[in-house]
Amino acid sequence: MAGSDDRKDDVRDEFLAEAQEIVESLSRDLLVLDQGQKEGHPDPDLVNEVFRGVHTLKGIAGMFGYHQVGAVAHALEDLLDDLRLGRVELTQDVLDVLFEGVENFQRLLGEAKGAGESADVDLSDYAQSIERVSAGGGRKETSLESYDLDPGVLAVLTEYEEHRLRTNVEQGVPLFRLVVRLSLASIDTALESLKTRAKPLAEIITYLPSMGESDGDAIDLEVLFASRASAERLEEVLGGDGARVEPVPRKDGHATVPPPERATVTSAPPAPTVAHVVAPPRPPPVPKTSAPPPISHDEPEDDEEAEIGGDQLSVRSVTNTVRVDIRKLDHLMNVVGELAIVRSAVARITDRIRARPELRQLALELHRVNRGFERHLGELQDGILDVRMVPLRQVFDRLARVVRQVAREHEKEIRLAVTGAETEVDKLIVEELSDPLMHIIRNAIDHGVEKPKVRELAGKPSTGTLALNAYQKGNHVVIEVEDDGAGMSEDKLFETAVRRGVVTEDSRADMTRQEIFNLIFQPGFTTRSSITDISGRGMGMDVVKTNINRLGGIVDVQSEHGIGTKLTITLPVTLAIIRALVVEVSGRVFCIPLTAVQEALLLDARAIRTVEGREVLTLRGGTLPLCRLSSLFALAPRRERPSKRYVVVTSLGQKRVGFVVDGLQGQQDIVIKALGRSLSRVRGFAGATDLGDQRVALVVDAPALMEEVLGGADRVLTAGEVS
């Protein structure tokens, strides 16, 4: 009974995971397609790619009984087929419908995940939208008359090929022919290599065997392609080895970009049986039976074209990956932590055995074994950490959809430029980042980027740019969200803050420009009086900041009025295990995450100055505010005052604070464990860790403490102490 239920769950999970992957890649492809459409040359391969994805989704949904998913996929598949063949033109409206399809899939999959059954979602409106755009009609048929193409060639083109040919002609892309002799033995690889070389320069429309003088071993292939590159360049890339590139002449005498030289078109007789043999991109029927598409009944007739240059449709993605619940990894990490304690216990026993002369040899062996254990343990730990890392792309893709949607809602033109999507961070961080980033981006579009008219008046390009950059910087990952919008005005910002009661009027004099900008992170601050449905929804910037702080990160804002705004988020790479600096303060041991530490130096008491009751140090030309951890934590000294003290310089983003400690005990990898619920209200600690030797040390929450210090909360405490 329970067993069959489990299996049902497993099957469902498998379906959901695979469907999710397909939907995510659909979303990615659509975004690129959207960009292409805006620039006027959508990549036809991508339309094929999306078509294939939807087709597979339809297949697996049918197999697992998710009929609603299947129905949406089916309707979309028809639309995509029309797009592929040029029966429907790819417009922003069509893209809207396609994106809505992705949303619908997400929703249906979400429901399926929750309810266990595919719950009923009303999709009749959506079906109507699909119908509406499908009926929108295609582009006008362009005449191919202007080119001197052999009617024999035109006759054998498939509908898809013909559509591509027309599209290229319509866009004024010159046509070329390439005649190449390929050995029958190696025709597959030779064609593949030709396609790879051609891809960046040209679009291959069709291949046909040519009726030239052919012997038994080789065949002349005529390749028809479109390209904007010069004939010389094409000759260079594709020519050689007897292959000739020549432009297809135009009848009307208009010069195509490279001046055409008159040449006659070799006639290519329609020979469908041969064409199948020599055109390997159309998959031979044999492999299809070994991996049959999930549903064979209602496939479009010209299904083969869908597979040009792509992978086989398949029910199962043949990958070597497993999906693992992150909690299982957490558990493994805990076990590793325990093993580390076992290791140090063994080391202690080894030392005791070594003290006995007659057992020295044994101690030596034990020591060696333990070293090996330690090394493997390290590898295990690294391995687990590595498994937890995922590329930021996961969250960036989702954001790209938000950008498009919000921009359309607000009639703003926005180009999203993403860099560093491959940067890896801990899975948990990626999950937690989604909401804050989404809010920042909505905010940037809503408040930052101006409407096209306004931008033009300001002498900016009408399309705004939103840059999403990620990169690793030491132990941190930095994510920047930058817009080239209106920027923030210091004065306006301050006024609003006063009106909202966030600051008082007279505090202006004490505030730096940066501090004024940072007011946006104060609770209760919103710049616009009217709450729009975008930024006004959900969280404020204060919540964004809190969420990011909780991940051990900080967020900073820079802005130039009229030029743009940049938010910078700095995060640790992982939360599970971190390297920490172990320090001593008043006889207690604390860990400071190394991600926050810039450097540690010996404190020269004579170099300390006092500025407005705060101790500071001049470090490399900059002023470093100091904070004595013993005072901040109100620790009674347990031993004599140490003769030497150290400063641990912490930095996050633009901020720096030097924490004064009594001793440095070195670095150590630690697993941070949460403090119990009864201590949840204690601020300043990220958790605690077992240092081995039954020593438990608190791990300071560096960002929180820095904020406290820079916020001036410690001033009273430090002012009293004499250095």
């Binding site: 805990n334 932590g337 325990e338 304690i341 207690r588 934590f633 109100a634 620790l635 464990k673 949460a674 403090l675 119990g676 619920r677 009864s678 201590l679 204690v682 601020r683 300043g684 600690f685 958790g687 605690a688 077992d690 039954q694 020593r695 438990v696 040390a697 608190l698």
Partner: protein, 177 residues
């Protein structure tokens, strides 16, 4: 691991243990008794998970005053509360007999520092005086008073010789602050 571990074994389900109106004078309360500042207290045995020798406790700055600090029990960080401080009694140094009881208050596993652990008592209905009966200004964490009669229900030699009184504590209100 030389920790003295006493695993709590619930003889009666909690629901039965609190069935006050039970007709026969059966065992209704199974408690672990301990001493703090010469006074005898007891907690329901079912709420006590472990008894530990006092490990080294890491002090937590900024924590509430009655929190002694944190310890690690098999990889888990546990907050240790000083019952003397929580019950507003004079502080004293931790001596050899002191133990940390790991107690589940329903939300969190907490450590309680006590001066000395006595033993497990099985109290019958007629040996328990409920706080509701006592009236007056009893604290919310006191369930009642146990007066174990020198009988077969007790094992401790010390307990058998003298008539004694146990203050029965309710871990929920005692620890949730």
């Amino acid at each position: 691991m030389s920790d003295e571990i006493v695993r709590a074994k619930t003889v009666l389900p909690a629901a039965v243990a609190h069935q006050v109106g039970s007709a026969e004078p059966e065992i209704v309360y199974e408690v672990l008794a301990f001493v703090i500042a010469q006074e005898r207290y007891a907690l329901p045995l079912a709420s006590v998970r472990e008894i530990l020798k006092v490990p080294s406790i890491t002090e937590v700055p900024r924590a509430p005053r009655d929190v002694l600090g944190i310890i690690s029990v098999r990889g888990r960080i546990i907050t240790v509360v000083d019952l003397r401080r929580r019950l507003r009694m004079a502080e004293a140094a931790i001596d050899k007999g002191a133990r940390v009881l790991l107690v589940d208050d329903g939300r969190e596993l907490l450590g309680l520092l006590v001066d000395r652990v006595l033993s497990v008592y099985r109290l019958r209905q007629d040996e328990v005086e409920l706080a509701a009966v006592m009236g007056g200004d009893t604290a919310d964490y006191v369930t009642g008073i146990g007066r174990p009669k020198a009988s077969k229900g007790t094992r401790d030699a010390e307990a058998r010789t003298q008539e004694e009184m146990l203050i029965l504590l309710d871990p929920g209100p005692l620890l949730r602050r």
